[in-house]
Symmetry: C2
Subunit: 544 residues, 2 copies
């Protein structure tokens, strides 16, 4: 390995900020996160307000207080860092998304989800980039290169569908829920991969070869990252299955799962791949194989510990975004021309609306044309809901914008300052205004789907396994599986199989392959061998 | 609040070490921790070797490989930082100790534990300090002040009893186990408080006033830190009880518990108190009140998630200590006089042995004199075991030594270099040699107590609630309490009460007070009010 070991040192400054100030800032931040959780809970009766909005508003308020206390010098406590975001905050969110995803729905609608998440994001990217080149360039906001405009396309293609997911009901509209949820994750990965591909290439002279290389690189990143996640996930399943950690220690199993998930992310970053895609697929594999190889206690613990980490990370993010929005430095550059800044923000918001409409409706039509069964088709009202669900912009956009337009958290040029402040404006506006409108809109479009609301950020966890259903399942069959499982239903007959759509058959062949080759090696529900002291023995013990 | 907001910025360098090197070092470290866990598990059949020793050895090996690869330039991947240790690694370990402690045993033996942990540590501190002044000063190893010698006393008074606890059986020798465990925690807190008190005072001119001020300050730190921990713990119980988070989200409850525990630690550091003591008592209060107010899933999750965090932190520490031991910079200073370095290490090791003997046997006699019942007395063989249990020196000693004798991880003077290398030598020798001898020694002294070994670092968690006993309890009474509870036994009659020792009565009055005033307000087992949707309702639901 050709690593410069002498240089493999974390910057000493990173670890010895021993001063009072950093203790104070960490303390205040932790206290604020607690406040967000408690206040978010108290506001829960007003179901339109969720934790994202609460955190944003508390962040804004704190920022204002700090601004007043320092007499306009500063408004934030922590310096924003892309690294903090991409190395510590984003991995738990994406991993948890993969870990808690309803695999059956996800893979059954896989083609449609990839259509929306990957192809749709590319369409949106092209439209926003072209729109930015066509309109914003004319506003004369400063020197921007082609790569900057393409970056704008990638930044504003990254959606944040958490808000809509909180309003949708997974049981009443499973298709819609899985489409919005799946699209959100694939979209995150696509826009980040796209963004990094843009930064890597010299995009000043665009010709056929550059476009071809760009496309090849994009596909390579996509497939290699997925493969790495799959391999790490399988490895963790194999290790835990072979070693029977459960015989001795729940803590060891949980530790191995957490560490290997994080390892997959860091390894992907080290190999210049997309950590987001890797850790997402690692999460899916871990929930499909590894999770079934561990003890009952480990299952409950991992499920909730991962959801909690993801929850804290999301609250942290929105809190920070709110606090950072008031940063005086960023607004100083553009204070001479507030009108122009408002124009840029409005144009971007318009492009977001158009860019999303441009793919949701055509791709829905395409998807409907593929499907035979009428209850698998996406109705027009559902299409509008999908369109709306992807209008919010969130933390990924902010992080990418900082990456492109700042050096160490401060905008350097006029053009950069305009784009940073516009990104913040679009994120704040879309999260708060569109977020507050989501509940009434969905209630109007799909009256049946908003019956029981789950208004927490950690929707996935609660929907998959509330304490009640978990315990009753435990008492019923002694297995206590929380995750939904594709092997619950009896196998369809041949006639049934012939009548279903081709995508069903793909799913069926995958299941045959899984049962025959994968599960015997990597474990999974019902395929953990019977060994005294292993998790299987324990669950069998209680079945009797 | 008189905080300089402008300065309340985490050092930007802390968050933007965006280079390849830091990604590589994090990746390698995570991979090594995984390796330690897997190899530690595989070596488990050889019960003498535990995860501490495995991690130390893997650390040493990795250090050697890096040393060879860089041709003698460097041996570690991360720069050691006191902050990393005190802000991120130590809190989970100490909090988990408080959270999983067997409260009944702990409080029943409270007087003896404090006698050993606080008074004993002070005696050991005085002896080691005087010995260092008397003997090491004559070796002429460089310029050291009185404060340095006192710091040596504090550094080598901090024990690491994990190794002995892994060998002892909690059910066969509950008294011994609780004494060794309790002493270990109080000892950590005492030596750290002592160490910080030494650094704060001008100890060049020692007179009666300085000694009095020192003692007052020490007592203030002790009581204020405990109080802060108690208040934070009660606050978390009150918040969760009042708001019924359980009605909606396990993740919220878990998040609040993690965040408030961490908040208590950081708040203590901010107020210049001892975070260790604070977070320990916060853990005790949380397990006594808060833990009973949350859902069943939250209970399982917090119990194992805290144990896992603590487990990962311990493996990380030993791995680092092993890797850091080979750091070429430290050994360069003393390479001219290896004999002298060996002498210093041997003298310190001798002082550790003597300093511990000087309090274990007298204080045991004192404790036996207080107790009336013969099975509460500490036998001589048990006294030897207690003496042995506290001979190992671990990560706290390393961290304190770095704090006193280095600037940013590098020793500056001859004397400092001698003391750093001697600390590393004593830690390595005592952990590996004494550690390997512990099992045979305890087997020889207490043949009955080593029947079932729990050879994981996370002994507390496994002993308190293996999956089996948890599930069977769950099926029996529908409450599924994992933590042992002091209210299980029927209340003793007045006659019984008269016959027991006075310390039992103190415990009894505390229980009366707890039942009458504390539990109705802060919750706790059996005192969570019946409200639809609350955790109580759910557990009652399953009782039927």
């Amino acid at each position: 390995m050709d690593v410069d070991w002498g240089g493999v040192l974390v910057n000493p400054g990173m670890l010895s900020a021993t001063d009072y100030a950093s203790v104070a800032s960490i303390t205040i931040f932790v206290a604020l996160i607690c406040a967000c959780i408690v206040i978010g809970h108290l506001l829960e009766e007003h179901r339109w307000i969720n934790e994202s909005i609460t955190s944003l508003i508390i962040g804004l308020t704190t920022g204002a207080v700090i601004l007043l206390t320092t007499k306009g010098k500063s408004s934030h406590i922590l310096v924003f860092s892309e690294d903090l975001f991409f190395f510590y905050v984003l991995p738990p969110i994406i991993f948890n998304a993969g870990f808690q995803v309803k695999k059956k729905q996800f893979f059954r609608n896989f083609v449609t989800i990839v259509l929306f998440g990957a192809v749709g994001t590319l369409i949106s990217f092209v439209i926003i980039s072209l729109g930015a080149i066509g309109i914003i360039r004319k506003l004369d906001i400063g020197a921007l290169e082609i790569a900057d405009y393409l970056a704008i396309g990638a930044i504003f293609s990254a959606t944040d569908s958490v808000c809509t997911l909180q309003v949708l009901n997974q049981d009443d509209t499973p298709l819609l829920y899985s489409l919005v949820f799946g699209e959100g994750v694939v979209n995150d990965a696509t826009s980040v991969v796209l963004f990094h591909a843009i930064q890597k290439f010299d995009l000043i002279h665009i010709d056929a070869i550059v476009v071809f290389n760009f496309a090849t690189n994009f596909l390579y990143l996509f497939s290699a990252s997925t493969l790495l996640g799959v391999v790490t996930g399988l490895l963790s399943a194999y290790i835990i299955k072979k070693l029977y950690f459960g015989r001795h220690s729940t803590d060891r199993e949980v530790a191995i799962m957490i560490l290997m998930a994080y390892l997959s992310y860091m390894l992907a970053e080290l190999l210049d791949l997309s950590g987001i895609l890797t850790v997402f697929f690692c999460g899916i594999l871990m929930s499909h194989y590894t999770w079934h190889n561990v003890t009952e206690n480990s299952r409950v613990t991992t499920k909730h510990a991962f959801a909690t980490l993801s929850f804290i990370a999301e609250v942290f993010l929105f809190l920070y975004v709110g606090m950072d929005a008031l940063d005086i430095e960023k607004w100083r550059f553009i204070s001479d021309s507030p009108g122009k800044s408002l124009s840029v923000s409005s144009i971007l918001l318009g492009l977001v609306l158009v860019g999303r409409a441009a793919f949701v409706f055509p791709l829905s039509a395409l998807s409907n044309w593929r499907k035979k069964s009428p209850n698998e088709k996406i109705t027009f009202k559902q299409q509008v809901t999908i369109w709306w669900a992807g209008l919010m912009r969130g933390a990924v956009s902010i992080a990418l914008a900082y990456n492109q337009f700042t050096k160490r958290g401060e905008a350097q040029q006029m053009g950069d300052a305009f784009l940073i402040t516009s990104t913040i404006t679009v994120v704040l506006f879309s999260t708060v205004v569109f977020g507050l409108l989501t509940k009434p809109l969905v209630g109007f479009l799909l009256p049946s789907s908003t019956g029981h609301l789950t208004s927490t950020l950690s929707f996935t966890s609660e929907n998959l396994g509330p304490p009640k259903s978990y315990l009753s399942m435990l008492l019923q069959n002694g297995q206590g599986s929380i995750m939904e499982d594709e092997h619950n239903n009896p196998h369809p007959t041949n006639l049934q199989r012939l009548l279903t759509a081709p995508s069903r058959s793909v799913h069926h062949y995958w299941r045959m392959f899984d049962d025959k080759f994968m599960r015997p090696v990597f474990g999974g529900r019902g395929f953990v061998p019977f060994v005294p002291g292993s998790p299987t023995e324990q669950s069998l013990h209680y079945e009797q």
